[in-house]
Symmetry: D2
Subunit: 345 residues, 4 copies
């Protein structure tokens, strides 16, 4: 049996969640997120954000959440600015376009875009006398941590937020891996910072200890109205909404969410160090739960006999950047095996 490092959604859920599921299984609740469990989870998240005046909604999965949020914000002739490497531009089968909107891809640096890029794009748009022939930039999407495991610094985030607010363009953070980002040793951003700087974002559950689920936090008043219509229309309103509430209530009790995220980052760092010690190159220097060492074809074969991982980016000479992904569920003993294997190969 091979050990999987292919993704952060290989296992089920944190045992605390499973326990709660078992214990409450036959409880009767009303549907669609209007139950008391969901209400409590919302309160916990507001507290964690340090703001009472935000709206919190629970959806099932990431693609759905991105589509629902973006559709709810944009006007028909608007598009969303995004790193070309962004998830909505690459791996959602055109869900944003299916919803009617162009993804306006900017060239990323280490998976990130800058306030300057955003500012220039928007300024150029409005300086163009033919602007009505061109998709209007209507919001900005960034992911935290990014698809390449990198994270924005507080300074970078502040600059982006400032530019967005100056242009009155909402800023949206895809937080499918929010915990892994915020818990990174290199991270100087907190959830409370996000809740101040960002107009709408989500706290990922699927990849971070829940069976499934993403918690959308809306901080900007003008984006709050009628969001539940959008959830329902987008197919993201779970009939048994209690299940989402239960998971997030559990995750935000006693700091479980943060502990699980920290665990993944620590295990990833061990893998990173092992590869680095042996002199492997990396595609990118990632401080979170995704690590991208570069392996030769021969090395991939050798490692592939014991471990599963993803080929991320083919390089010349048969080499390729691969991804080793840890998660809340990664067993330290499996990382021991991998580290030993790296040392010996």
């Amino acid at each position: 049996m091979k050990i999987l490092f292919t993704s952060d959604y290989c296992e089920g859920a944190a045992p605390e969640i499973i326990d709660r599921l078992v214990k409450t299984n036959m409880d009767q609740t009303i549907g669609y997120g209007e139950d008391e469990v969901s209400a409590r989870a919302r309160e916990l998240i507001k507290k964690e954000c340090g703001r009472e005046d935000v709206d919190v909604h629970f959806l099932v999965g990431g693609t759905q959440t991105n589509t629902t949020v973006i559709t709810s914000v944009l006007k028909p002739y608007q598009g969303v600015l995004c790193a070309a490497s962004g998830h909505i531009n690459q791996h959602e089968t055109g869900a944003i376009e299916h919803g009617g909107h162009k993804v306006l891809a900017l060239p990323p640096t280490l998976g990130k875009i800058t306030a300057k890029q955003i500012d220039e794009y928007i300024q150029e748009h409005y300086a163009n006398p033919d602007q009505v022939h061109i998709v209007q930039p209507g919001m900005v999407y960034i992911s935290f941590s990014t698809e390449l495991g990198t994270i924005y610094t507080l300074a970078e985030l502040r600059d982006i937020s400032t530019v967005c607010r100056r242009h009155n363009v909402p800023l949206f953070v895809d937080g499918a891996r929010l915990g892994y980002g915020l818990m990174s040793e290199s991270c100087d951003v907190t959830l409370r910072d996000l809740a101040q700087l960002v107009d709408i974002f989500y706290i990922g559950g699927t990849k971070q200890g829940a069976l499934f689920g993403e918690a959308v936090v809306i901080t900007a008043d003008r984006l709050k109205k009628d969001f539940r219509y959008c959830i329902k229309q987008g197919g993201g309103m779970l009939a048994k909404g209690r299940l989402l509430g239960l998971q997030f209530e559990t995750l935000f009790t006693d700091g479980l969410y943060w502990k699980l995220a920290r665990h993944a980052d620590v295990q990833a760092a061990r893998i990173k160090e092992a590869f680095a010690r042996k002199g492997y190159d990396f595609l990118i220097d990632s401080p979170t739960n995704q690590q991208f060492p570069i392996l030769s074809a021969e090395q991939r074969k050798v490692f592939g006999e014991k471990f599963l991982f993803e080929i991320w980016q083919p390089l010349e000479g048969g080499r390729a950047g691969v991804r080793f992904c840890t998660s809340w569920a990664t067993k330290p003993e499996n990382v021991d095996i991998l580290v030993k294997f790296i040392e010996e190969n």
Copy 2:
């Protein structure tokens, strides 16, 4: 604490499912439904359908499934024929229209539409010299059991299927409550019949013993291609696809799905008989898990102190048709209490 008869999604999942969840929680599997658990579940469903040549896919919820299926089938200028009371026409916040398609509503009889209505609509369309100015009927949607608890007879279903095939218009069955329909004492249709007569349908999990999940069965070859692209784009592809496989594998082991459905129908029949014995009128004569007795305002108040149920349709003189809904999870002792209450009030 009031007893809920408001819907068939008040509780969690069948204990057998919860058990499996607990036992397999830390198993590692690849994502997006390509795992072995999902593969086994697909095989079980094919067997149950009596056909090896069907495709089976798992999605998370009903609105999402309806949208994904309909979007995958229709061309941009086509619409879907549907009873005006159909779920896609009434309770999905215009998800079908958001996907670009008109719902072509036909006047229903007891929640159902007929082969004759479908045939005439299609014939009239193609007889119209201005047809290109009008939405082309591109598929037929029926629900089984319907939103009003009624079911199609085998003869009715055969006629509809025949008309659809003559016009080369795919027939889609929304089976959110498929089990409750098929297990009704009045039902002369089997799953195998469906798998022969229908081009695409789904076996509802959410309302029938799963935490969530719907199993789409595609019998028509021309509808199979690239369906997984549609699932992903529509936000219905669960990262931890194993969870869907696990639930359907459990439901279709040892006939669990059918037992759970039968249980709900039996409990609903007890409620129906109790109301009938006391002389209550009904909105509709339903043979499945939804019952629609008519209560006065005063009666609703009295019952409402002990039980929760839905106001379905306001009638004159303050009366209203209400819905009592049973499910796989309905405790017989709670029905005892309700029956006794009916007898005494």
Copy 3:
């Protein structure tokens, strides 16, 4: 050669327009409606509306205009209230749904809907605890004159406007046949009334003396922003925008638009009276340029040898309501022939 009474778009354009086209053909202008001719036409229309503070835009055709306006106004989860007989519900191949929105059809009386219907629909929506599962009514569409030739009275229009404003739901008037409505002898509404009571409407050119073209008037400030983006995206922005400006400039010089419309109504009245004198029944009592006498199969055959007209609605016993349509271009001598024919048959 048969005489056509099939529609109000059988001929080219008012000779005054053709003259201007010829004289200005080689003039050079910039594109997309930013030329001076279009600017002058906009000023003339504002004057005619009695309001300087409206925005005026020119589009090519009716379906496009309806789609562009509705798409620009509605949020993704909103639909448009409309008579079931409305053009957007019947004859635009689902263009509104293709744009993502449900048409919320109300049962019409003589092609019209009432303030009361609108009010009740909106109130019921917001009274429904499950409202987020249902398409939200986001605007109201009426046609003036209607698809059946009828017109709203000033009182009716005022009531509808009042209801719409109370609910903050924009009111949109499809004026493809606006002139024919406003110039009817029975009409007590003026263009200035419309410009006060309605949030967005259009003045039809295609059916009323132009080669093509519709002039959208936006009176509500909140609907004005970025409308030109919507026109471009919807394919309604004519490269040689001058052509639209030229036509509307001509139509609104020396009251040409009103003379042309009045002409059609007068000729239609002659046809109506001739049929009435001979005791024909009518589908509907229309005071504008469309007349709907009821003819037997035999009569249709006899008339059909000399005239072309549309079968509007088949009735029992082989009878059918047919449509005789006059226009700005209808030659009085052709109506003489028809009137004589009616008298003799």
Copy 4:
């Protein structure tokens, strides 16, 4: 009065078209392109294409035509491959995305893409094990001549066609400037070649002598069905369809279309040579009616006092590539003035 070289849609239409308009203005015809004039125009175009077995449809404008064609071809999860500089990617306000589809932009060389790029993109897509998470390439869009005035050679076009057919991906040619391309001295492609190599294309009228209008030619049988539904839904079905027929009938009588196109190319060549003789650099070497000399800020000011032209691409040091555009309507005496001006400045 400045002389306009800003675009190829500054003037009205070829005098022959205006004459026909005047003479036939009061002719009565049925609507929506089902008249005899349109029928004759279709026959002329088929002849010109050397194929009787193609379908020909008339639409009003370019954006509308691109959207209608692409929407009619693609499935919801498919996108269209296109040069990043392509019109649908740059200047149609996201109309393709509004219709639900991603534009898959390829890096162009001189405004063109290659068979190799297309082949590799498609191969990589289907080689990707995660392909269902990615937009499927469903058709190829190229423009002829391109937005930069360049043209594909017959060899290039053959290669692209071969690749598209091997992958069963339809090839679409945007021919808004088709005549200017085909009539270029450098061009070795004929309309008959196109009609053999391409699955669907259009012959531009708006920029090439008509008041407005584009003629879509469908050569691939599988793309023909129900195209008129798509035209109507997309708002491109002109009520007075005769106007489109009349224009294309005139353009394809006595080779008028080709003469007009040739005229523009000749005048453009004169401008090009004049700039070249004076040692101006060019953004690109264009053999058609668009020329892109590079002017300093000072030069732009000087030229701008007498001529209007477009700033195409700002360059460093205040220089910019500008566009001088000729058309069927460009007066040789105006080009004389420009050439003289170039020589003297």
